[in-house]
């Protein structure tokens, strides 16, 4: 059963759960992490992390958050922003290590590529669409879209997290939306041409 996401809609209940978890309530911690996981999965996907890596990435983020929960200071920002910071840093590390890994394996073209497991057709199409759309965005645009549009953090929180102003976040998000719309129009055209 997929966890309910109701706690993510209510920052108050999130803060309350975080407080209880900080005091050592294991049940509250489980509810907290189950509640925030779906949004973190979406942010990870929107950042461009390969879908196969996203569950492990999010699990690592939650484990790090669980261990560091005592260091989380609600006065410095929301729990969502704190988790977003951890996620973005880990995703960046993953991209860097992924580039190194790809560079290494590119030197051995005789090695067979690992075949991706195919799930439902819809999920595969969605995955391809996601990957294709994200190629139209720069790294900064992807981060802004992931946190501000998909993760629904405020422009101020996103800006603090990415070290840019809130106005900059809105501007980057608008550019990204335009690019995505152009990409979507291009995709629609190519689909119509194929028919």
């Amino acid at each position: 059963m997929r966890p309910r996401e109701v706690v993510m809609d209510s920052p108050t209940s999130l803060s309350a759960l975080a407080g209880e978890a900080r005091r050592g309530d294991g049940g509250a911690a489980d509810r907290l992490w189950d509640g925030v996981r779906p949004r973190l999965l979406r942010i990870g996907l929107a950042l461009g992390v390969p879908a196969a890596d996203v569950p492990d990435l999010v699990q690592d983020v939650l484990l790090a958050a669980h261990r560091g929960l005592r260091t989380f200071d609600p006065e410095k920002g929301s729990l969502e922003a704190w988790l977003g910071t951890i996620l973005v840093h880990r995703a960046r590390n993953l991209f860097r290590s992924g580039r190194r890994r790809r560079g290494f394996f590119a030197r051995f073209p005789m090695l067979p590529a690992r075949q991706a497991t195919r799930g439902a057709i819809d999920a595969v199409e969605a995955r391809l669409t996601l990957e294709r759309l994200l190629t139209f965005l720069t790294e900064k645009q992807r981060e802004v879209v992931a946190l501000y549009e998909i993760g629904e953090l405020s422009a101020e929180e996103t800006g603090r997290l990415l070290d840019i102003t809130a106005a900059g976040v809105r501007s980057i998000a608008r550019d990204a939306r335009i690019r995505l719309s152009e990409a979507a129009a291009g995709q629609r055209l190519s689909q119509e041409e194929r028919r």
């Binding site: 997929r2 911690a29 489980d30 992490w33 189950d34 996981r37 779906p38 999965l41 979406r42 996907l45 929107a46 879908a51 996203v54 569950p55 999010v58 699990q59 939650l62 484990l63 669980h66 799930g119 439902a120 819809d122 999920a123 969605a126 995955r127 669409t129 996601l130 759309l133 994200l134 879209v145 549009e149 998909i150 608008r174 990204a176 939306r177 335009i178 690019r179 995505l180 719309s181 152009e182 990409a183 979507a184 129009a185 995709q187």
Partner: protein
């Protein structure tokens, strides 16, 4: 003209579908040992260290105290050693008669 929201809505739908297709999460890993277990493990290590270190901390057997005194035995002045031993108590050691030269004090260096 393309609607500005078209692309982001498509992305949002794709993200939602892919997220829904991901495997369910594994249970969060908990620390291998709970705090109480850490305390018990620490206590066990301390006890083990004490048990192992105990023979090493025993004091080495002290050398017996030796005191040289002059005793008058059978009218002769004789130097004797009194050895204080923790195991055997006080032992008086005197030279045997043939060792002792008449008219000389016993030399028990």
């Amino acid at each position: 003209m393309t609607d500005e929201r078209t692309g982001i809505d498509l992305l949002r739908r794709a993200v939602g579908e892919v997220a829904a297709s991901l495997p369910p999460p594994r249970r969060a890993r908990r620390p291998a040992l709970r705090p109480v277990a850490w305390v018990l493990a620490g206590a066990a290590v301390v006890i083990a260290a004490l048990v192992i270190g105990h023979p090493l901390r025993q004091e080495a057997p002290s050398r017996p105290l030796v005191e040289v005194v002059s005793l008058r035995i059978q009218g002769r002045e004789t130097r004797a050693r009194i050895v204080e031993s923790a195991a055997a108590g006080s032992i008086v050691v005197v030279p045997s008669r043939q060792d002792a030269q008449p008219g000389k004090k016993g030399d028990l260096r």
